[in-house]
Every structure is written in C-alpha cells, then in structure tokens.
C-alpha cells in the first residue's frame, strides 16, 4: 500500500440502472495490491451491485473498469460509445478475481474437494493431480481439509463459506471479492468465517469486502468506502471513518447500524 504502484483495480464513473432506476450513478474506486477495502453503507445503495459489476455478473452501462492494466469496459473516443471487453477477456479477469457469495453457492452436486478443484481444472487447465494438491493446501488454510469428501449439504453455513473461500483461493487470485460473506450465517458462525478472512489479510491477500459487520471492518480494513445514493460518498482509512472526526452522515449511519 505504501509504494506508489499502479492500482490492481481501477474504477471510474461506473454506472448501472435497473429498470430505469439508476443504482450506480458514477462510482470511483481504486484498489492496490495487498489492500483490504470494505464497502459499507445503508441497504439498497448498490454495494453488492458494484461488486457484481466488477466481475460482470451484472453488465455495467457506463464508466471504466481497469484490472491489472487491462480495460474491461470503457467509454471511448469522441462518440463516447460504451464498450465491454470480449467474453474471453472477461472470463480470464473473473478467474483472477473470484467472488465469495452471501449464500455460498457451492456446487451442490460436487464434494468439497471437487468444488475446489473444479475451477482450476476447467478454467485454469491445471492437471487433476496438481489441482488436488492445491485444493488440499487451500482447504487446509481454511481448516476444512478433513471435510474434503463431504457434500455441501452436509456442512454448516460457516463451513460452506470457508470452502467457498478455499474455492476462490485455489484460483491463485489477485483479488477476492466478498459479497456480504457473513450475512447468511448464524451469529456464532460469523466468527469462524471472519477468522479465515483475517488470516488471509495477514498473508497480504487483496480483498474487496461488502459487509455490514462494522466491528469487523474496523479491525481489518485499510480503506473504507461509504456508499450512499449510488455513489461512494466518503472514503478513508478505518481510523478516519470510525474516528471521532468522521463525517456526520457516517456518524448517523453508524448510530443506526449499531442500533
């Protein structure tokens, strides 16, 4: 974070509408290697949509996304036509920034091991043996190796999410997108998933996390982005955002968030 290297991910004026409703009205965001950025803010302000536009699960409708110097979408030239990169480039980009979902979305017809192997073999074209070795590594890192032969419906929510993180890790990602990774979990399971994410942060993994867990954000984030009204309204270090001198609208949000 300290040296002025070009950002891993750069987003400019990202826009998206759903049925005429402008959800993203021009989002600017950049993320550096090793940085942990959290997106916070009231519900319905487009936090998840930002994430889903980054890997093109939703098609953005304007603005620019650059990932490792590669333009994924941009408005170009005089005519200002919005263009999205061809599918093959998007697929390659997705493989380098896998997503961890709120509802885990483990492949239900495959075992834990197969879930973690799948993307490596199908997308990265790794050999099965190599993929299994790597999967074992990743499962060990999230503490799920002993459940390698289980099917997802035999696991608790927290365990599923840890496997989902291992599945993302196995892709040797440059960046992991977390879309409310603990929102679907029972309170006592939240800790185990947060613990895994914390371990990744210690290893220097670059992460972009949408979450409502303010205490977690405060303890882990390098940068906090506060979303409101389809824009990033405030950005700052965790200390700025959570400190006594935080902007008033954030203080208001925090009061509500902590109820």
């Amino acid at each position: 974070m300290t040296e002025p290297r070009p950002p891993v991910l750069m987003v400019r004026q990202l826009r998206k509408t759903f049925q005429g409703n402008a959800v993203l009205k021009g989002v600017d965001l950049s993320l550096h290697e090793g940085e942990i950025a959290c997106l916070i803010g009231p519900s319905g302000t487009g936090k998840s949509t930002i994430l889903r536009c980054l890997n093109f699960l939703e098609q953005p409708e304007g603005g620019e996304i650059t990932f490792f110097g590669q333009t994924l979408c941009a408005e170009g030239g005089n005519s200002n036509i919005f263009r999205i990169a061809p599918p093959r480039i998007l697929q390659a980009a997705r493989a380098r920034m896998p997503m961890v979902f709120q509802h885990f979305n483990l492949f239900s017809h495959r075992t834990v091991m197969e879930n973690v192997v799948e993307g490596q073999v199908v997308v990265l074209r790794r050999g099965r043996a190599e993929a299994r070795d790597r999967a074992r590594d990743c499962l060990a890192r999230v503490g799920m190796l002993e459940r390698a032969d289980f099917y997802p419906d035999q696991l608790s929510g927290g365990q599923k999410q840890r496997v989902a993180i291992a599945r993302a890790l196995a892709m040797s990602p440059a960046l992991i997108l977390f879309d409310e990774p603990t929102s679907a979990l029972d309170p006592q399971l939240v800790q185990e998933v947060q613990g895994v994410i914390r371990d990744l942060s210690a290893e220097g993994m670059t992460m972009l996390i949408v979450t409502h867990e303010m205490r977690f954000v405060r303890s882990i984030a390098h940068t906090v982005h506060f979303c409101e009204g389809g824009r990033i309204a405030e950005s700052g270090s965790a200390a700025d955002i959570f400190g006594p001198n935080a902007p008033p609208r954030i203080q208001t949000f925090m009061e509500v968030a902590h109820g």
Binding site: P87, P98, F101, H109, R110, V122, Q154, L177
Partner: protein, 236 residues
C-alpha cells in the same frame, strides 16, 4: 381357476413372454432415443434464438396435443405415401420416441430453469465459459433433479407400448390378441397380460429407485449415513 393354472398358463404364458420381450425392447430403445432427443429439444427451446425456439415449441405443442395412437397410425400408414417406409417395429419406435421426447423436453426444461441461480453465478465468477457453466454445473444438477420424473415416464412408456399393437408390432398385447383368437379365452389371457405388465413395471420401478439413490451425491459416500431424501428442488 383350474383352467387358468393347468391349461392357460403353461400353454400360453411363454408365448406372451415373447411379446413382453418385444415390449421391453421397444421401451428401452424409445426411452434412450426419447431422452436424448428430449434433452436437445429442451436446450434448443431455452435458446435465445427465436428461429430455433419457435419451430421446436411448435413441434412439442403438436405432439402433445394429438393422441399417440394417431401419431403411430400416421407414421406407419401415411409416411409411406411420402416415401418413408418404416417396419412396424421402427415405426413404433419413431412414434414412441417423438412422443416421449416432447414430454421429456418439458421435464428437462423445468429442471434446467429450476437450478439455483447462485450455482450459475458461482460458475461464471470462477471464469467458466457459458458452455462450461452449462456442461459442468447446470446440466448435471438438472439431470439429477429430473431423474425421478424420468423414471415415472419410463413406467408410463412400458404401458404405452401396448398401443403399437395397433400397427401390428408383435409385442405383448398383440400376442395376447393372437392367443385369444385361438382360444376365445379372453379373461385368462388378459389376466396373464396384466400380471406381466405389473411385473415389468414393478421391477422397473425398483431398478429406477435404486439408480436414483445411487446417483444422489450425498448417498455415494459410504463413510457417514445420511437419510435417503431425494430431490430438494427441481422437476415437477
């Protein structure tokens, strides 16, 4: 009773079984072809391309809105006028296959649509191509979900095969007709026919159930015991 056990059964049962064998052949071949065709119909009908979707929709509609027996008669008696001559057996296969495929395409379509959206998103977010998403994630899950329904259709098919006796395929029911025209003993003969159909369906149902359990992912693990529940979501 005496007549049934000591005359009708020993005299005619083997001949009826020969017919039953043809019924089984018809069913298995039609099931195999109908499943394949039905699958491709379903995928085609889910395609975004209207030029592909529309004719397939029309085909399914026509097949489902006309009786199987009429379709069989058309294939066997009317197609030769268009220059397509099929033996009775293969005309029967053709009719049963087309009919089954039309119905199964609905089953598969429902099962494909019912696969959780999150599964697709997870596959896409790993960087899979649309083809890989379909082949590695959607289809396997949809296939599993449609299996119980598929089994039901097979048992229905076994019995629908009796309709091809109308186009002179020598299957079980036609053999029964032959026996009756010899002996005028319709009651005993039909009882035997019913027993054979029951046995075939009963055995098929057990086999299908066994295949379902065997293919359900969580049952393939021997190390822990799981309640044998089927099919959480999917085909109706």
């Amino acid at each position: 009773m005496y007549n049934f056990f000591f005359y009708a059964v020993p005299e005619h049962f083997p001949f009826l079984l020969q017919g039953a064998l043809v019924t089984v052949e018809l069913s298995l071949i039609s099931m195999l072809l109908g499943t394949l065709l039905g699958f491709f119909l379903a995928v085609g009908r889910l395609s975004a391309r209207r030029t592909l979707r529309w004719p397939l929709d029309a085909f399914v509609e026509v097949v489902r809105d006309t009786p199987l027996i009429v379709q069989l008669l058309l294939i066997y008696f009317s197609l030769p006028e268009a220059g397509i001559v099929l033996s009775a057996f293969w005309a029967g296969i053709a009719g049963l296959t087309l009919n089954l495929a039309a119905y199964l395409s609905e089953v598969f379509r429902a099962a494909i649509v019912a696969v959780d959206k999150g599964q697709r998103e997870a596959a896409i977010s790993l960087g899979m191509s649309p083809v890989a998403v379909y082949c590695r994630v959607i289809i396997p899950q949809a296939a599993l979900a449609s299996l119980p329904t598929l089994g039901g259709y097979f048992i229905a098919l076994l019995k629908d095969c009796s309709l091809v006796s109308f186009i002179s395929v020598n299957e079980l029911l036609r053999h029964a007709t032959i026996v009756i025209s010899d002996t005028f003993d319709s009651m005993d003969t039909y009882i035997m026919v019913a027993i054979i159909y029951f046995m075939m369906s009963f055995v098929s149902a057990r086999i299908i159930r066994y295949i379902e359990l065997w293919l359900t992912p969580s049952n393939r693990r021997a190390t822990i015991s799981v309640p044998l529940t089927m099919d959480k979501e999917g085909a109706r």
